[in-house]
Amino acid sequence: MSLKLELLTPELSLLIFALLVILLDLGIKQKKVLAGVSILGLLVSGGFVLTLWGRESASAFNGMFLVDPFALFFKLLFLIAAGLVILASQDYVSKFARFQGEYYALILISAIGMMLLATTGELISIYIALELSSISLYILTGFLKDPKSSEAGLKYLLLGAVASATLLYGMALVFGLTGKTRLTEIAQAIQTIPLTTLLDSPALLLGIILLACGFGFKIACVPFQMWVPDVYEGAPTPITAYLSVASKAAGFAVIARFFYTTFGVPDWLSLNWGILFASLSAITMTLGNVIAIAQTNIKRMLGYSSIAQAGYLMVGLAAVGVASMADTLGRSGLLFFLASYTLTNLGAFIAIIAISNKIDSDLIDDYTGMGSRAPLLALGLTLCLISLIGLPPTAGLIAKIYIFNAGVHYGLLWLVVIGVINSCISAYYYLGVVKVMWLGAPVSEEKVPSSWALRIVLALTCLGVLVLGIIPGKFVQIAETAVRIFTS
């Protein structure tokens, strides 16, 4: 049996380090060491991903484990997100008393799940990897064990379980129709079934809809976004950051691979789900932006903002669906936007972790005067908020240009217009925070302390946002290489 274990080194190494963290937790008193071991594990795993980068696409486990640039791009993204979250948690972990080892281990394990999600091309593995990352996240959401955190964890679990049961039924229908579980084999089977319109095979249509519902929960698109505000507010803030970035990226990765590979080729099929995603995109971004305006809690505001950002991302999905095989812009635009969004959102949350830790409040009004109390943190937060709006010289602008360009190119002008209007609306609440920070008089003159780990990650993310915004060329190239597997 061709195991080809050298292709699994990223996941295996990370797993070994996760187990190491759990075991070391038994003996070591200095909990900072555990954070160091986790970061080491992420670096080792990242190193293995980079060694696999240059090679041509390969597969292990008889085609179930696909190592191609698309998968490697996302693996790197998840590793970076996990690393930044672990570093940013240093101010926060004292709240977890003796469970710090499990905290780090669960973050690493959920990263493993997401990496597997991006790389696997088979139904059962997709489901198991999805549940692996989700269950770890349910636990992490409820980690503080105070009423708010437990309630957030419970809501996330119950709604997530319903969504994955729905997704599973969709998978069962697709399996029943084709008799296969590998995505490539399913794609072949769909093409050989003599169908002329979607209505000839309603089970396929129903399966696709149920799959879209299940995955839609993961990426928090309307009408499955109800869980976001409460879960984001109750979870420990580093985990909120991780959820908003990594879990969403994982969702988009699996949707992209699933829909592009399996349902991409019959043009009428691809057009149908393209239109579906386009409509959902319009509703999602509008709803997210409009409700965000009314928010007074900054974590809930960023929660609705991330719903809206998912809406922008879905423009890329819709463009691919509508254009089918001819598209090149939509796919790579999606990846670039995800990279930019990851850095931006993490940066914003990192600043919030430090500030909220000090003032012990998540209300936007309590951020008054942060410009003078914590100038560097406020500057970082401002930069990230500007990137979320999509203004120069940040990554957010390039990402939006790229993805809206794809939309225009393939006949979705109406959607892009809605997107641009939404970006203007969003400026209102993002700039509201900026205004409060720099123009208000501070309540007290105490400085906001932050650990050097947090300052480093904030600096790194802001640097990333600026670099992607000013010299995006190289990264656009990487994104385009990554999606070449779908068009070849």
């Binding site: 419970l154 119950l158 069962a172």
Partner: protein
Amino acid sequence: MSVSLEHYLILSALLFCIGLYGALSRRNTIVILMSIEIMLNAVNVALVAFSRYIVPLVLTGQVFALFVMVVAAAEVAVGLAIIIALYRSRETVDVEQADLMKG
């Protein structure tokens, strides 16, 4: 009339929808968890029925159903742990009491 694939699938659909109704409409969190288990059982019935009628020699559907059982067990364990943790801090298992966060 002889029992065929459609019968099993309709039964599976009925169980799934009963479970869905329970998960969305009940207030007791343990009942919601039980409804989710019914939904997962319904999917298993569909998978095994597909395995029997569409690819009887390959048994992929049955293996799929086995993995679903594993995941269901893990989810129940974590779900009940959270419910107990919530009960300890709030002394209630009623979802409509769980409204600390609004807005």
